[in-house]
Symmetry: C2
Subunit: 210 residues, 2 copies
Amino acid sequence: MSAPHPAAGRPEKRRAITGAARRVFGNEGYVRAGVDAIAAEAGVSKRTIYNHFRDKEDLFLSVALEGAHEVTETIARLLDRHLRKIVDVADDLTAFALERVAAVAEFPEHFALVRTIEAEAARIPPAVLEEWIKAGPQTAHLRLAPYLARMADDGLLTPEDPERAADHFNLLTVVNVNQRTFYGAIPLPPEQVTELVTDGVRTFLRLYGR
Amino acid sequence: MSAPHPAAGRPEKRRAITGAARRVFGNEGYVRAGVDAIAAEAGVSKRTIYNHFRDKEDLFLSVALEGAHEVTETIARLLDRHLRKIVDVADDLTAFALERVAAVAEFPEHFALVRTIEAEAARIPPAVLEEWIKAGPQTAHLRLAPYLARMADDGLLTPEDPERAADHFNLLTVVNVNQRTFYGAIPLPPEQVTELVTDGVRTFLRLYGR
DNA sequence: TCAAGTGTGGACTCTACAGTTCAACGCTTG
DNA sequence: CAAGCGTTGAACTGTAGAGTCCACACTTGA
C-alpha cells in the first residue's frame, strides 16, 4: 500500500527518510514541506525518496500511518500498566489520564501531522483517511472500553455502555486538553494540565463512580 | 490592524475579496490557495487585493478574524433564543445544542479555515493567534456560562462553577461532534448527530440536573 | 578478484505562484 | 462639466518546489 517497490531500498535509508519526513512535515505542514528539505534532513538524495515512495503524498500518508500505530501502541501499554489491576479507581484513572495526555506531548511531530491531516481531511482519499482513523484515534479511543467494562464487572463502576463511558472519559480528559493546546502546539502550564485532568476524572467518577 | 490603508478600496470590492478568500482558503488551505485564484473568484484583479491587504497572510488572518466574529455572534443569538427564558431545561438545552452543532455545518468555509488555523497554530504570530482565539472559540464558549449561572440561580441546575459546567456542556455536545466530523469536513448522518447531542445533554444533566 | 545488476546522487525541467510595474479608467469634488 | 487622484487590471519577474534523467558506486554472486 505504501511501498510500490516491495523489495526496494535499504531499510536503514527508509527509516532515515520516514524519520526526517515526520520532522519536516511536522514542522512545516504538508504543502510547505519540501521534498528537498526532507532529503537533506535524512542525509539522502531526493531520488532515493522517490525510490521508496510513489510521491510526496504517499510519503506523507505512510509516515502518518506509521506514527498512528506507534502512538496507539504506546496508549495500549499505558492502559495495561495503569488499568490492568485496579488499586484505587480514582488514583489509577487519574494516573492513566495524566500519562495519556503527556503522550501527546511526547510525540510532537506526530501530532503536528495529525493537525495537518485534520486540516486536509477533505482532500485525503476517503479510504486512506478511514484507514488512518482506524489505526489511530479510533482504536486508541475504543481500547479503553473493555477496561471500563471489566471495572464495572468488578463493581468498581456503575455498569453502563462501556463504549459511551470511554467516550465520556476521553472527552473530559484528553480531548479537553488537546482542544485547548491544539494537540500540544501551544502548551499549557503543567499544573493547569494536571488540574484539568484531575477535574475531568473527578467529573467522570461523578457520572460512573461507585 | 487588518487594513494598512485605512480608507483604501471600495467596500464592495473588499467584501467580494473577503468572501472569495473565505471560499478559496476554505477549499484549498492556506498554502495551496493562490492569490490569483482568490482574485478570479472575487472577479477582481490581484493588484486590487494587494491594495486592500498587505499580503496573503494579512488577508488570511483578516478573513479568519471576520469569520470568528460572525460565528460568535450567531452563537450569541442562539444562546439568547433558547436559554433566555427556560421552559423545560432538557428540551431547551437540547434544542440549543442541536442548533449550536448545526451552526458548524452552516459555515463550512469558516470551519475549514479553523482547521487550517489549528494546523498552522505554531506558525501564526502568537499575538494574532490569541486575538483570534479570544474573538472566536473562547468567547463562543464562555458566553454559555452566565446562562448556566442564571439557571442555577433559578434552581434549575445544581449550583456549581458555571464556567466549568459550560466547559463540560461543550465537551459533551459540540466538541464531541466536531471531533468526529473534523468540524464538519466529514459529515455524520444527521440522526447520529442528534443522538450524540441528546445523549450529551442527558449526560450533562446527570451531572448538573435538578 | 571480477562482472552484473540495483540503489543512489546531483543536475535538470517545468510549472506555479507571491508580489510589482505602469498605463488607463472612473469616481469624487469644485 | 472638468480636473485630479485614487483605484484597477494585465503583463512581468524571480523564486521555489515536485518529479525525472543519467552516470556512478556499491553490493552480491561466481
